[in-house]
Assembly symmetry: C2
């Protein structure tokens, strides 16, 4: 239950930041570390491969240091030069800190997901960002 | 207050998804659209330019269709071939849908932020992802 309370408190702080922004202090109350990953499938037109990948990604939500998740596919927003919609799937995981990200990185559930899905993708790009 | 309640409900659903994952249905209760933006500064070693950019980005939290925010810089996670830590700043904005993202895209606060900061960056990459 501690994790649930912590996340709700953090999410509430974010609501405050979004509705009544007060600058960096409020924003940094959100879970601080974001792990963004973008995947390009070997068979980008295979709905079956996409579903297999998304199924593997969803298992990551079970890892105890994960504080929030979003799994997605390219949205149908306006096409602009700066928008990269060539990827097949995206993953966002929130952690409290780099220690939480390390627990995830080494976790058997993560290793299993990689073992189950890595044959599906040809390229992965990771961006890890800490609140600023 | 409606927006605050909506976000808290969505965040609580995400907590449930993270703590007790039940698959795609629970995960998709999170604000559905993620707008990720990565910025590369013209002067990547200028702390002043980074602060100016972050100040401009933080104003985006005031836009009424924005449901959650995270502004960051590269985290000191493990160096791996797939990790891109060459960017200067990252922005995540959550929206309910593509209509919310469009309100942001055309909003005077967003236009002002671009006008104030676009001279600072040499490259921007945007990924828009819809929950899947």
């Amino acid at each position: 239950m501690t994790d649930r309370r912590t996340f709700i408190a953090a999410a509430s702080a974010t609501v405050a930041a979004a509705a009544f922004p007060t600058g960096a202090t409020a924003v940094s109350n959100y879970p601080k570390l974001v792990h963004h990953v973008f995947f390009w499938l070997k068979n980008p037109n295979s709905k079956e491969d996409l579903e297999k990948l998304l199924k593997g990604l969803r298992t990551l939500a079970k890892i105890e240091s994960v504080r929030g998740v979003h799994f997605g596919v390219p949205a149908s927003t306006e096409k602009r030069d700066v928008v990269d919609n060539s990827y097949s799937a995206s993953e966002i995981l929130f952690f409290d800190d780099t220690a939480g990200q390390k627990i995830y990185q080494d976790h058997p559930i993560h290793q299993q997901s990689v073992a189950d899905c890595s044959h599906l993708w040809e390229k992965v790009v990771v961006y890890d960002a800490i609140a600023a």
